[in-house]
């Protein structure tokens, strides 16, 4: 097999001084499925964005079949036959599948897009690569896995010979993943080269030929997939042996602390995002919410924390109804919240670490003197304490939060929320996009709070995380609770996948068990 792509000593430094890649060598052989492996934040996506022309390397060169190429945009990459399917799809929801596929390189009639030809082209393409899809439906009406197919077809339509897939399985159920792998193998047979970005080792074992492992922005080696064990890969990725299972002491449940009763939420677009949801959480237990992204989990979390107000229903925190209360009042009732998107909602980036630690408690006793002045001395002491106990890697409490790494920013968020006198922790994606050390640390802290008798509501896209942390589990599908499992440890990922897809649904009777009081 010939080498089709060679990336030579690539260094990428983002504005603000984040070194995302440091002297990375990466090469692709024609017709292989090449895994790009590494923990979140290891620099995989950055490297591929440079291969797809979305970012330009600070240093280093890219060769296509031995010739150096410079790409200023993804259009350049497409012209070189390089396509990419992003983690977040780049589709126009109001257009049909066919329109989306030809968008940007349309076959034009006299003035308008030739719909017929577009549909024909889509059908021909779908047939050729055995990616079954209805060309006439609007993209907003199709499922996530179908959207992914549209993205792949879009790349193929533009003549991509090299296709980069950025964590394609993150949004899929186990059943859909099997289907995707079949399709990718077909593509490989027809001569395409595929880059498969992932950090799920068993998937790589099943699908890929070779792999490049990245850690902390560097490449730590290229391997034949069948010549290394999962344990070895894991060690290379992390730099040490990881303990993947979590020690969880016996649970001791107390009285009900959170009670959600028939809550419905209709969003601004008129979509019923949360539909008559009822459940409760007792002190000392972790209730996980599983579901494919966009099935109401995020909205539910925001309803419980007061970020959104339900259209119908009531939520009780420690028996107080909260739907009429402001966020401050809800927090005072003992609710802490780790938000889904830490950059968007979890921090003030241009303020220092200390200021970020006190955002929910700045106007209370220890931090205020003379009624309205901030006591910076006490704030500094408090911040130093938290930096130490949450192991935040920073120069000091006066460093701007935007200068920290993702994992450390998350620790700042977790540190702040866990240091308030809360009894209910509402946690959404606690470990998304952060390094392994931080993941372990945060998971341990969550367990610790449970042992101290706190109630925890946990949503995570990481099935493994949610299965291993949760005591009980609810699964959501299109706004409904479709399953309640009192013992999270007794359910497999496959079983959960069926519920997440909506293939299986429990009876109303079974779901009602989610309410305890």
């Amino acid at each position: 097999m010939t080498e089709i792509i060679k990336m030579d000593k690539i260094t990428k430094i983002y504005p603000g001084g984040v070194v995302a890649n440091y002297q990375v060598d990466f090469s692709l052989k024609e017709g292989e499925i090449h895994a790009l492996v590494g923990e979140n934040g290891a620099g995989k996506s950055t490297l591929m964005k440079m291969l797809f022309g979305m970012q330009r390397p600070t240093e280093g060169a890219i060769y296509l079949k031995g010739n150096p190429i410079v790409m200023k945009s993804s259009q350049d990459a497409l012209n070189y036959g390089i396509g990419m399917v992003h983690q977040h799809f780049m589709l126009v929801p109001s257009l049909t599948v066919a329109e989306n596929i030809v968008l940007g390189s349309e076959i034009k009639g006299k003035f308008f897009l030739d719909q017929k030809k577009a549909i024909e082209a889509t059908k021909a393409l779908a047939k050729k690569y055995k990616l079954s899809i209805d060309a006439n439906v609007k993209v907003r009406d199709i499922s996530v896995s179908q959207k992914q197919k549209v993205e792949i077809l879009k790349a193929l339509y533009r003549g991509a010979k090299i296709i980069i897939l950025d964590e394609p399985t993150a949004v899929l159920t186990p059943q859909e993943i099997v289907e995707l792998f079949e399709q990718l193998k077909l593509l490989k047979q027809s001569g395409h080269t595929i880059v498969f970005i992932s950090h799920k080792l068993h998937e790589i074992k099943k699908l890929c030929d070779r792999m490049t492992i990245m850690r902390d922005g560097r490449s730590v080696g290229v391997y034949e997939v069948d010549k290394v064990t999962e344990q070895e890969i894991s060690r290379l990725m992390v730099g040490r042996d990881v303990k993947l299972d979590i020690d969880k002491p016996e649970k001791h449940v107390g009285e009900t602390f959170l009670d959600v009763k028939d809550v419905t939420y209709v969003d601004e677009l008129g979509k019923t995002a949360v539909n008559k949801v009822s459940f409760s959480i007792r002190k000392g237990e972790i209730l996980g919410i599983a579901g494919i992204e966009g099935n109401g989990q995020s909205e539910l979390i925001e309803l419980v924390t007061g970020m959104k107000k339900p259209t119908m229903g009531e939520i009780y925190v420690n028996q107080h109804p909260i739907t009429q209360l402001g966020i401050k009042k809800i927090r005072q009732l003992g609710v802490a919240h780790i938000p889904e998107d830490r950059m968007e909602t979890g921090i003030a980036p241009k303020m220092d670490v200390a200021s970020n630690f006190i955002a929910d408690k700045y106007d209370n006793a220890p931090f205020v003197k003379n009624k309205f002045l901030l006591d910076y001395k006490k704030i500094a002491v408090f911040a130093k304490d938290l930096i130490a106990s949450f192991n935040v890697k920073t120069e000091g409490e006066k460093t701007l939060v935007s200068g920290l790494s993702g994992g450390n920013i998350q620790k700042v968020v977790v540190g702040r929320e866990f240091s308030s006198d809360s009894e209910l922790l509402v946690i959404n994606q606690p470990t998304r996009g952060i390094d392994v050390g931080a993941i372990e640390f945060i998971r341990k802290k969550i367990i610790e709070r449970r042992s101290n008798g706190n109630a925890v509501l946990l949503a995570s896209a990481d099935l493994n995380e949610i299965l291993s942390l949760s005591d009980a589990l609810i699964v959501m599908n299109s706004g409904h609770i479709v399953g309640y499992f009192p013992e999270a440890s007794e359910i497999t990922e496959e079983e959960m996948g069926l519920y997440m897809l909506g293939v299986k649904t429990q009876t109303a009777e079974e779901i009602r068990r989610a309410c305890h009081a």
């Binding site: 260094t11 504005p15 440091y22 402001g326 909602t345 303020m351 120069e395």
Partner: protein, 360 residues
């Protein structure tokens, strides 16, 4: 890290200084090209304000309104609510103060103080309006504030024309202010008045408000990340309203002080446009009140210099507009000198990365 952070601060300072130097350089070049007596004009422009105590005092006098609108805009920009209503607040502050000056007779000292308080309250109320409209109806505060400036300008003219205008005066002017209204002078032989001290005290107070109080903390959080402020439980609407009120009050008080310190009658038949100077000052100071007096001094010095130059030579004082335009352009242009910064940033970032990951 500390060193790196330092170099960024240093970079910002250099960037601003270089922008100022380039701006003055451009205007110097223009003077040299257009003037019949280029060197003389230039030397008047750059050095004349130091010639006499009176001129220098003029610089300090002009600093006063600039300081007030500068502080006002610092607060406005800290909140990321880009309202320019300070112009309306300043103008109405002056109108209201004139009303108090003409219609009331109060003891010396108390008279201007009462005017300032009323002007401050009026300024504050006006200052809040674009914010309220934004909170209630999501109207863009920049547009609404600019339009409201016209409303308040014409309202002010109406008040002067119908209640305070002196029919005896040959030009647009109000009746004379009662003498008790005048602020005392603080420097013999100049017009420098107590307003200067009030302005400097305001600098300290506003700095205190933004960086030392819990309200200032709320303001900075709201300005940095509105979503985060809401999520933390901060009452963002309240913060917005309070901060805009304070900003409006400062501008209103500035207008009143300008009247009682510098004028005998109200004679502004067009808005004074000090709000735009406030914008330049906020830009130069990065919204930190600590630096407002320096920026105000700089702007004021250039103006007095240009004024003297236009009186003594053939160069018009409109040269100031060019200087300001160049300054705003260079400072607002994020990419000005960015390459230079990027290079040094990249180098430090790489060094840091190497020590963190490749050694030890």
């Amino acid at each position: 890290m500390r060193k790196w952070k330092h170099s960024v601060d240093l970079f910002e300072l250099l960037r601003i200084l270089l922008a100022l130097v380039i701006a003055i350089g451009v205007s110097a070049l223009l003077i040299l090209i257009t003037s019949e007596t280029p060197l003389y004009s230039l030397s008047v422009f750059l050095f004349a304000p130091f010639e006499k105590l009176k001129y220098f005092s003029n610089v300090l006098e002009m600093m006063i309104p600039l300081t007030f609108t500068g502080l006002s805009l610092c607060i406005v920009y800290q909140s990321k609510n880009f309202s320019l209503i300070a112009d309306g607040c300043f103008y109405m502050g002056a109108v209201v103060a004139s009303f108090v000056a003409i219609k009331f007779v109060l003891p010396v000292g108390l008279h201007p103080f009462v005017a300032m308080v009323i002007a401050g309250i009026v300024g504050g109320i006006i200052g809040v309006l674009p914010g309220i409209i934004k909170i209630k109806w999501q109207a863009n505060e920049l547009v609404s504030s600019l339009m409201m400036n016209y409303i308040f300008y014409f309202l002010g003219l109406y008040i002067i024309n119908y209640f305070l205008r002196d029919p005896q005066a040959s030009v647009f002017a109000s009746y004379k202010f009662n003498p008790t209204f005048a602020l005392p002078r603080i420097l013999e032989g100049t017009r420098l008045h107590v307003g200067f001290l009030i302005a400097m005290a305001s600098v300290v107070l506003v700095y205190f408000y933004i960086y030392k109080t819990k309200w200032g903390y709320e303001l900075r959080v709201v300005g940095d990340n509105l979503n985060f402020a809401k999520y933390s439980g901060i009452n963002t609407a309240k913060v917005l309203i309070v901060s805009q009120f304070i900003a409006g009050t400062l501008a209103g008080v500035g207008g009143a002080i300008e009247m009682s310190g510098m004028y005998k009658r109200f004679i502004w038949d067009s808005p004074a446009s000090y709000a735009w100077d406030g914008v330049i000052i906020a830009l130069l100071t990065k919204n930190n009140p600590k630096y407002v007096p320096f920026a105000a001094f700089f702007l004021s010095y250039l103006r007095i210099g240009a004024d003297l130059m236009s009186r003594r030579s053939d160069v018009d004082n409109q040269i100031i507009a060019i200087i300001q335009a160049v300054i705003i352009l260079l400072i607002a242009a994020e990419h000005f000198l960015a390459k230079w910064r990027l290079k040094s940033e990249n180098k430090t970032a790489k060094d840091k990365y190497i020590t963190a990951n490749l050694e030890g």
